[in-house]
């Protein structure tokens, strides 16, 4: 099946890109002035101690050797050891990754679920009040810093109204005994939802606004396409035209935009985690930079890129699923 082959192709194409990412990150980190070991040991360290630690972290070997070693280890899921935590980088990332993924997936789900209907309605009621309001709101939404939205939401809902918690995420599959205020599995879900709501809104607003805009403009464009006119000329009901004939085609640019939004979303996740004090990868990379814990910085950068690339591949495959021209390349 062509779609399968297309997916396979995309995955294969991603590998050299990821390799390049590792190379760039490696180059960046090693371009850094200052030596992490010296930083760890403080000013004017004992030279012998420096040498020992250097050897321990393999910093005494030439660059290309270190790079190769890093790659080899990477393939075996070993990203080195965190200087600060004195634990494998992989472990730290594994601890933090679920939170970040939960945050991102839920915010995208929220964004898509609200933006698509909103955009379609906006297109259908073009230039009427609903449309104008939607357009203004999306413009504002796209221009608002997500961390500020988070702050405002916390002020409103956590402090003033006291309804929702302001920090941390509870994973929905956590055991009830580990979650305060939850006696059962269902209770855990409820608590998890409460913790997730504000961060999800905070991160998802920007995506929602961006998707609404493109959904609207895409629908408008498609609605003036010839095949829509033809369907109308053959007596297809307006509702069916909207739902079936126009909708599918209109999603193509939307999917493209979602792919482009991924990079902003990941950045937004880093900031949202900071605002809500969520122990995800975002906070990990930020604190690691402050501590100059380079193995962690490298590892998290790579994993972020990996998440991004996977996201892009998923959107590409979704695009190809809808648009047969992508996978069925053959022409008569």
């Amino acid at each position: 099946m062509s779609l399968l082959r297309y997916s396979g192709r995309r995955v294969v194409q991603a590998v050299p890109v990821l390799l390049g990412v590792v190379a760039i990150t490696f180059a960046l980190v090693n371009a850094a002035p200052g030596n992490p070991v010296e930083i760890m040991l403080g000013p004017s360290p004992n030279q012998a101690a420096v040498e020992t630690l250097k050897a321990k972290y393999g910093l005494d070997q030439p660059l290309h050797v270190r790079f190769w070693k890093y790659l080899v280890n990477l393939v075996q899921l070993d990203m080195g050891r965190s200087i600060y935590y004195d634990a494998p980088v992989t472990t730290k990332i594994a601890q933090r990754l679920p939170q970040t993924i939960l945050l991102m997936v839920s915010s995208f789900a929220f964004a898509i679920a609200t933006a698509v209907p909103l955009g379609v309605i906006s297109a259908k009621r073009r230039n009427k009040p609903t449309d104008h309001v939607t357009r203004i709101v999306s413009l504002v939404g796209v221009s608002t810093p997500s961390f500020w939205i988070g702050l405002i939401l916390i002020i409103l809902f956590s402090y003033n109204l006291g309804v929702l918690p302001a920090t941390n995420l509870v994973m929905p599959w956590a055991h009830p005994s580990t979650v305060t205020g939850a006696g059962t599995r269902l209770g855990v879900l409820y608590v998890a939802g409460a913790h997730l709501l504000l961060p999800m809104l905070s991160l998802g607003t920007l995506q929602m606004a961006a998707i609404t805009r493109i959904e609207r403009s895409s629908m408008l464009e498609v609605l003036s396409d010839d095949y829509v006119r033809l369907a109308r000329a053959y007596g297809v009901k307006e509702r069916t035209i909207l739902r079936k004939h126009a909708f599918r085609n209109a999603q193509l640019p939307v999917i493209t935009i979602i792919g482009l939004q991924l990079t902003t979303a990941i950045g937004g996740a880093v900031l949202t985690e900071t605002v809500f004090e969520i122990n995800g990868m975002g906070r990990l990379i930020v604190s690691s930079i402050s501590r100059q814990d380079f193995p962690v910085v490298m590892g998290t950068t790579f994993v972020f890129a990996l998440v991004f690339v996977v996201g892009v591949i998923i959107t590409d495959i979704s695009y190809a699923y809808i648009d047969p021209r992508v996978s069925y390349g053959d022409q008569e």
């Binding site: 413009l139 810093p145 500020w148 990079t263 950045g267």
Partner: protein, 344 residues
């Protein structure tokens, strides 16, 4: 309309250059006036333009007050007149970074009251955690937002133009290599890339700015490259080539001016993005360091006092919002003004 060649026999560089100039100046001239007129017609775009203009003026004035005066203060010639950093602010009101003794901290905006006291007109939007006036600091925060945003975008634009133009024009393996590089850079999420950059080079605003600039190069490079590739096929480039014009000149005088439209739109929108990212970096502590006022940093501080003085958190974010909305409105307006012509 073709220019009149004096002699067709003198295929020296002069007559060819004349041809080039008149062709390119015709192309460029048709663009700007019409575009600006279109933008003026569009109310949102025009509003955006006004806000940007105002903000820019504020940014320039405050920069002069902060940086230029500080520099001039070194010289006796000026110092004797009392010229110093924040001279303008101090004369008109007060220094944005001073912490005057006795000023209450965390005052709410005028007309409201909180645990720290009553809002007053002396500090219309309230005071921050060190008793500094918020409104004044917001005004001076414009400087960082606009300047850094514009400079960072400029870096991305110039870098992207060079790479994109070369890549698109020459094709072949230059193109392949450069685009692979761009793709790889692009695969690292924007903020993460900037963070890695900052991690490597240092936590100052300069590196933040350069980092944002470098991270935005791939987007511009791709845009320019696709325009270059399509323009490259156009006839007047072929004509110029046939007339023996050097590659560099072709790129500079024909290809780039005609790629300008979408690039300008992208650049305007990118400034908005850059402003948000820079604010985010300041929020994380990686941007401008206190006491210099910056919106992101103010938001970061306000976090600690969310309960006591929630209004402190509102204003800096609002400033970011308004500024970015302005750039988006203007950028959208530019895109609409340029689009139908592009399709023609």
């Amino acid at each position: 309309m073709a220019t009149t060649h004096s002699d067709s026999e003198t295929i020296g560089s002069e007559s060819v250059d004349d041809a080039e100039q008149s062709v390119s100046s015709v192309e460029a001239r048709v663009g700007w006036r019409y575009t600006l007129a279109q933008v003026r017609k569009d109310p949102t775009a025009f509003a955006g333009f006004i806000i940007i203009a105002v903000a820019s003026v504020v940014a320039v004035v405050t920069t002069i007050d902060a940086v230029v005066f500080e520099y001039l203060a070194q010289y006796q010639v000026f110092a004797q007149f009392g010229v110093e950093k924040y001279w303008l602010a101090k004369t008109l009101w007060m220094s944005p970074t001073a912490e005057p003794a006795g000023t209450p901290t965390l005052l709410p905006p005028v007309g409201m009251e909180n645990t720290f006291g009553q809002g007053t007109w002396a500090h219309p939007l309230g005071t921050d955690d060190r008793g500094r006036d918020i409104l004044l600091r917001l005004i001076y925060g414009t400087r960082i937002a606009i300047l850094v945003g514009v400079l960072a975008t400029a870096i991305g634009l110039v870098g992207g133009m060079v790479i994109g133009a070369v890549s698109g024009y020459y094709g072949g393996w230059t193109d392949d290599v450069l685009m692979r590089l761009a793709e790889t850079l692009y695969a690292i999420p924007f903020l993460v890339l900037v963070l890695a950059f900052i991690a490597a080079f240092g936590r100052s605003i300069t590196f933040a700015m350069i980092g944002v600039g470098v991270a935005s190069i791939p987007k511009f490079a791709r845009l320019i490259r696709s325009r270059v590739v399509s323009v490259r096929e156009d006839e007047y480039v072929e004509a110029a080539k046939a007339a023996g014009v050097r590659d560099r000149n072709i790129i500079l005088r024909h290809v780039i001016p005609n790629s300008f439209a979408p690039v300008l739109v992208q650049a305007t929108l990118q400034v908005g993005t850059a402003i948000i990212i820079i604010a985010g970096l300041s929020f994380l502590g990686f941007g401008i360091q206190p006491p210099t006022p910056s919106w992101g940093q103010m938001l970061s501080v306000s976090r600690n006092y969310m309960i006591q003085n929630p209004w402190f958190s509102v204003w800096p974010g609002l400033c970011i919002l308004i500024t970015v909305v302005a750039f988006n409105m203007f950028g959208d307006g530019l895109r609409d003004a340029l689009d139908p012509r592009l399709n023609n």
